[in-house]
Symmetry: D3
Subunit: 129 residues, 6 copies
Amino acid sequence: MTHPPHHAGESRLERGRRALAEIDGHAGEKVVAALADIAPDFATYLLEFPFGDIYSRPGLDLRAREIATIAALTAMGNAAPQLKVHIEAGLNVGLSRGEIAEIIMQMAVYAGFPAALNGLFAAKEVFAK
Amino acid sequence: MTHPPHHAGESRLERGRRALAEIDGHAGEKVVAALADIAPDFATYLLEFPFGDIYSRPGLDLRAREIATIAALTAMGNAAPQLKVHIEAGLNVGLSRGEIAEIIMQMAVYAGFPAALNGLFAAKEVFAK
Amino acid sequence: MTHPPHHAGESRLERGRRALAEIDGHAGEKVVAALADIAPDFATYLLEFPFGDIYSRPGLDLRAREIATIAALTAMGNAAPQLKVHIEAGLNVGLSRGEIAEIIMQMAVYAGFPAALNGLFAAKEVFAK
Amino acid sequence: MTHPPHHAGESRLERGRRALAEIDGHAGEKVVAALADIAPDFATYLLEFPFGDIYSRPGLDLRAREIATIAALTAMGNAAPQLKVHIEAGLNVGLSRGEIAEIIMQMAVYAGFPAALNGLFAAKEVFAK
Amino acid sequence: MTHPPHHAGESRLERGRRALAEIDGHAGEKVVAALADIAPDFATYLLEFPFGDIYSRPGLDLRAREIATIAALTAMGNAAPQLKVHIEAGLNVGLSRGEIAEIIMQMAVYAGFPAALNGLFAAKEVFAK
Amino acid sequence: MTHPPHHAGESRLERGRRALAEIDGHAGEKVVAALADIAPDFATYLLEFPFGDIYSRPGLDLRAREIATIAALTAMGNAAPQLKVHIEAGLNVGLSRGEIAEIIMQMAVYAGFPAALNGLFAAKEVFAK
């Protein structure tokens, strides 16, 4: 799957909203909605910078971008909700379950077995839905 | 680039040594040599588990594996020497400089701007060689 | 709000107990009570060093100290219970809800969007009480 | 308690399975079982490298190894399930409850009070069983 | 010191450039220049999101924002160059040397003594210039 | 080696100074001296809490305490100067070079191979002196 194309005249916010929908589906929308009463501007930033700017860049396809994100969130080991969203996003952009398990397993090398185990159990939960 | 094929009758250590040479080139050899007087068994484990086991698995190609590793080491932000080795490894397995910069830039979203900046400066150093 | 004044003849433990009550209110007491059967000495250290020594120092007011603590715990991303206690402590020493949200949002820059999101959702939980 | 002896002709997997049973008891078995449907090979690696290779090495007894693991997992603060397994493992290899509390308390010095508090509450949960 | 005011008709990039100059002075410019050959777009993002969006928000003054940043970077302990830039920025926006030392010392409570020690030695280096 | 005994009438500061000298030798003194102009009170806290309180507790001997500290600092991977001080401290309290290498190697399991490699290279540097 290729990156979301830039549409003429589209704002960063519009482009981000489109990219978020494509990548994270409903999980992304829910995060944006949950921010409405505490920090609505942060929802805007979330759409604009990560999705409108970074994920919409042409230099790397979405499959590669989700490999990077799943790896990083598994290795950091302190962002379980976001890891689950991106395991689902990985499936959305064409990674297979087996490939996602490979990425997470590999993190045992760089961040230790507990990080990889907790990542695999997060994936198990997402795959079970 | 595909994963290193399993050769009949090859031990984990031999397979790891072959994978390390293919992926990390001389940088990998130097690490193994530097361990000789302090923890020679650890050099064996390093060849066997990360390279003989994980990187040699068929379920994910080396390009994807290096995307995952560069992302994780950038995000963790506490393993500069290994990040540099894997930026070089990324080039070895076919990632372009631009793609490596994209992976590292994306980490600003997940691990903050300092992690991404330090990753980009590590890449700059590797690319300058 | 200024720092807790040093009272003549007060021990570190007494000063810490007074500072904890002022800053963390009942949440602090509960932590101390929960340590009674597993590590009672640790409750003493917790009162003495962080509260009797550090928070009681005159060089920085409690408002500034809670800004620092909320920022750090959000950025570290692995201490949710303590972050919630200090979001409440921030309100106790005069930070507004809006200011607390600003501090947490800013952490997206230094520790990534997941850390900031999880911090905002912790604040939402505290504010809802 | 000394390290698990190497038995003649035993494979890494067999040795790892034996070491895991000795150290982690049923908790270890459950982790291995939970991996069966998502990443069965990872269960093999977990038995082989950490337990068949590292914990079976003669240079450090299991008591010392569990001190190291409890300290590291407390300090990292992002692997609660594994910390609990190793608090139990610590008891299995001869550490007293008091010694385990000492190790965890000491981590306040190196990783901060929240890490130590969360470690102590994990120990409280394990000791209550 | 208050936050950088929004000027009518100013773009995020222009506002960010102005905020960066006010906060980080020449240190900020140098970082932007160093990115020119490896990731020029990242310099733009750095100006736009952290400085044009976050630091320019009216809800928290720059003094408070630098307290938060110095605390977070000290606690994370893996971004020495950025910590030094923000210790200097703290001085630029009106924090005293003593206040900066207080913030860093307090991090011993949340991230351990090594993080605080390394932060103090970074401050010592900045103050010596 | 057992823990430093409590002497009648000794203050926390005196006890800490004695414990620091016993454990860290000259390396500890140098850290205390380096704090004199930036944060002299922090030198006092460092002597009092980690050394006067924690390391002087009778429930765990110094050998076990240094195993815990070396493991934690290796795993955290962001405190190289303190790790080196404690590798030397480990030798001072009776750990052999081989045992220290075992502790560090084991961290590959919990914090990844880069953390263990960087720990081993730190040990190599200390052992070479």
